[in-house]
């Protein structure tokens, strides 16, 4: 079976998983949550296989490279990393509500990669500048970081949603009553941000090592580099506020959203500004 077919299947599976998480949230029965996790795991397994098949196929075509080199492949890997990170968090926290906000982002990434008009899913030959192992490590670490920030974003959203009801003193009811405790969300926002920050730091570093070998300059202030630094600084500010000024709760949640907006701009928005990284445009 061709990997593109499996990947379309994966897109569908993630959608199903999202709907099941949503059912679980609304209806509160454990069954839906378990079914949702099952689909998420199944999707992850399928996607892993598809990525390996694509990798193998690139060798069969005589091009031989990791499937992490153009915009399409990075989008697919982003979705993979989101689900992977999310499922680990789910295993650790036993909490299935966060999936309602995180899994659809992976679904959207998969859907966008397959339907966006100017995204090509062909396995393309690698131009000399991209033939570097540092590039592979760079992409993997950056996207693991982005995935952790996505989880922080999902938790931040739930936090704010749940926080809206805090004003009224009545017993929490309806949907919001089923959301996890604010304190748990707060910890999760902090932990996934810290994890993402470490990955992003390594990602920026491996990126500059690659630039050092490819262009002779570890930092050239192209817009993508600058925006990754902006994102890094936003999260650094957030972590300082937490550690030094004890910032908690709603403001951390809002910063998690701001940081995620920066992540998205670094990944997608910057391609509309000119620069070295514009090869990522297809």
């Amino acid at each position: 079976m061709s990997h593109t077919l499996i990947l379309s299947g994966v897109t569908f599976v993630y959608f199903v998983s999202f709907v099941l998480y949503l059912f679980g949230l609304i209806n509160g029965k454990e069954f839906w949550g378990r079914a949702a996790s099952f689909f998420a795991w199944a999707g992850l397994a399928m996607q892993t296989i598809a990525l390996i098949l694509r990798w193998k196929m690139s060798y069969d075509l005589g091009l031989g490279h990791v499937p992490l080199t153009n915009f399409y492949e990075s989008m697919v890997f982003f979705a993979w990393a989101i689900i992977f990170t999310y499922l680990i968090v789910e295993l650790l926290t036993k909490n299935k509500i966060i999936g309602v906000f995180v899994v659809p982002i992976a679904f959207l990434a998969m859907a966008y990669s397959s339907i966006a008009p100017d995204v090509s899913n062909r396995i393309e030959p690698l131009i000399p500048a991209l033939q570097s192992n540092w590039l592979t490590i760079h992409v993997v670490t950056c996207f693991m970081g982005y995935a952790a920030f996505t989880v922080a974003f999902g938790c931040g959203l739930i936090y704010l949603l749940k926080n809206m009801e805090k004003g009224n003193t009545e017993k929490p009811s309806g949907l919001r009553g089923k959301l996890p405790a604010l304190a748990i969300l707060d910890t999760l926002i902090y932990q996934s941000t810290a994890l993402g920050f470490v990955f992003l730091t390594i990602g920026i570093m491996t990126g500059s090592i690659w630039a050092h070998y490819a262009w002779g300059s570890y930092w050239s202030w192209d817009p993508k580099e600058t925006w990754s630094l902006i994102t890094w600084l936003i999260y650094a500010i957030m972590l300082h506020l937490r550690h030094v000024r004890g910032l908690k709760g709603k403001r951390m949640a809002i910063l998690a959203l701001v940081g995620f907006a920066c992540v998205l701009f670094t990944y997608l928005g910057v391609n509309y500004l000119p620069g070295l990284h514009s090869y990522l445009k297809t």
């Binding site: 690698l126 000399p128 002779g216 500010i237």
Partner: protein, 459 residues
């Protein structure tokens, strides 16, 4: 102490300042990525001359190298250094804090889950506690408090300095970047195949930099994938110092070469305007030969008194492919004619060609017949040359930062005390812990320890 009262000192020792600075830097970056340079230039043009001069002086048109940005980085560095100095004494106290007696009051109001009451022999229980702590944390210390025993274990005390490592790494990177920008150099050179060059054009200024060695390009090769995408750019280089080849190597994109503190990068390539033709000739009954010719070259034809020269050389003339124009002078004749590479094909399309246009006859100088074996283009390779003595510091800073962050976020400093007291026939075991962060993880560890001790006692 008087230092701490100094207002300037306290201004620089505030973390609020750090956060404000970081936010300002974020806005400077956003401005720098969103405002295209040509708009800045147009804007500078409209300013009154005095203001425009100031604008240029502060280099606001290039925010990353502007006075404003340097100022922000300077304040940030001072801020970072002073914060670090300020906090060091309390950190050191924390690092040196004695394990015994335990911090006052930590055994008060313990939840039930952290207290174990058993009736066994206390010396046996002592052994159990010790072995559990040892198994979990490597080592343990104990004191006799008079009322019973107090045990202590800890993990990752050094992680108190994680923040220092992270902050130090930022300074190291900044210093490396400054060294690079002061003592570093970037230049470009183009070298034709077979030639050697010892001067380079500086990238930032309109000036020439002389190298005290020369670089020869022995060969430049491009390979393509089947679909025409470039696959490899490759230059074989020789570095010549004091008239001797000191180093030879293959330069590829993503695989720079280093010589004499300079790093060489494959950055461009091009074709030189001159081409070469490999020409062969036959001479009925005699030996033929092969010549490598460029425009203007002259050559002797053996077994005759003739001398030839190349007048023109074309890669593709009148859609008929490569051709060269030769002039041959012998005592009797002075003739000019064209030699086409694809003469057979051309003759097929027009069978009377050679009689109609004798000039197209490669055998016009009887009995010699010329043909073109192939044309060769000379490439030049474009190298980017960098000398950056700050790179190793920046790399060190990067390593330190990653190490520091891992210590800060994943290796919390945790301390555990276990108190064993006798109350009548019962032994009371109380377990507490302290950490410099992340209470959830600490609680998990305490619970785990409680469970372990309980299990061992039962066994």
């Amino acid at each position: 102490m008087s230092l701490k009262k100094n207002t300037l000192w306290s201004f620089f020792s505030s973390v609020k300042l750090t956060i404000v600075l970081l936010i300002i830097i974020v806005f400077v970056f956003i401005a720098a990525t969103f405002i295209p340079p040509h708009i800045v230039q147009a804007f500078t043009g409209q300013l009154s001359p005095g203001v425009a001069e100031l604008f240029l002086l502060l280099r606001l048109s290039d925010l990353y190298h502007s006075f404003l940005f340097y100022l922000l980085m300077t304040i940030l560095s001072i801020n970072l250094i002073i914060c670090s100095i300020n906090r060091f004494p309390s950190l050191w106290r924390q690092y040196k804090a004695p394990n015994f007696p335990e911090p006052a009051g930590i055994f008060d109001n313990l939840p039930q889950s952290q207290i174990i009451i058993v009736g066994k022999d206390s010396s046996q229980i002592k052994q159990i506690i010790k072995s559990c702590l040892k198994k979990n944390y490597g080592s343990t210390k104990e004191v006799d408090t008079g009322k019973g025993y107090l045990f202590y274990s800890e993990r990752c005390r050094f992680s108190l300095f994680g923040v220092y490592i992270v902050h130090l790494s930022i300074l190291v990177i900044i210093v490396g970047a400054i060294i690079g920008s002061i003592f570093g150099l970037e230049a470009d050179i183009n070298i034709k195949e077979g030639e050697s060059v010892n001067v380079a054009n500086l990238s930032q200024y309109n000036a020439i930099h002389k190298l005290d060695f020369s670089v020869r390009c022995d060969k430049f090769i491009i390979e393509y994938y089947e679909d025409g995408t470039p696959k490899t750019y490759r230059s074989d280089l020789s570095f010549i110092k004091n008239g001797q080849v000191a180093k030879q190597g293959t330069l590829l994109v993503n695989n720079p070469l280093t010589f004499d503190n300079y790093r060489f990068y494959q950055s461009r390539y091009g074709t030189a305007p001159d081409i070469k033709a490999i020409v062969t000739y036959t001479n009925i009954g005699k030996k033929g030969g092969s010549l490598t010719l460029a425009v203007g070259d002259s050559f002797d034809l053996p077994d005759s008194n003739a001398k030839g020269s190349v007048l023109r050389m074309e890669n593709n003339i009148m859609q008929m492919g490569p051709a060269i124009k030769l002039r041959i002078i012998s005592p009797k004749k002075d003739i000019q004619f064209w030699v086409f590479k694809h003469i057979d094909k051309i003759k097929k399309m027009n069978s009377n060609l050679l009689t109609e246009v004798p000039m197209f006859n490669p055998g016009l100088f009887h009995p010699f017949v010329f043909s073109i074996d192939r044309m060769e283009q000379t490439y030049y390779t474009g190298l980017h040359i960098v000398r950056d003595p700050g790179v190793s510091l920046v790399a060190l800073g990067g390593l330190l930062m990653v190490a520091g962050l891992i210590i800060v976020f994943f290796m919390a400093y945790q301390r555990f005390w276990v108190r064993l007291e006798q109350l009548g026939t019962k032994n009371i075991i109380s377990i507490v812990g302290l950490s410099n962060r992340n209470d959830q993880q600490l609680q998990d560890k305490i619970d785990c320890l409680c469970r372990r001790i309980q299990e061992e006692i039962k066994a």
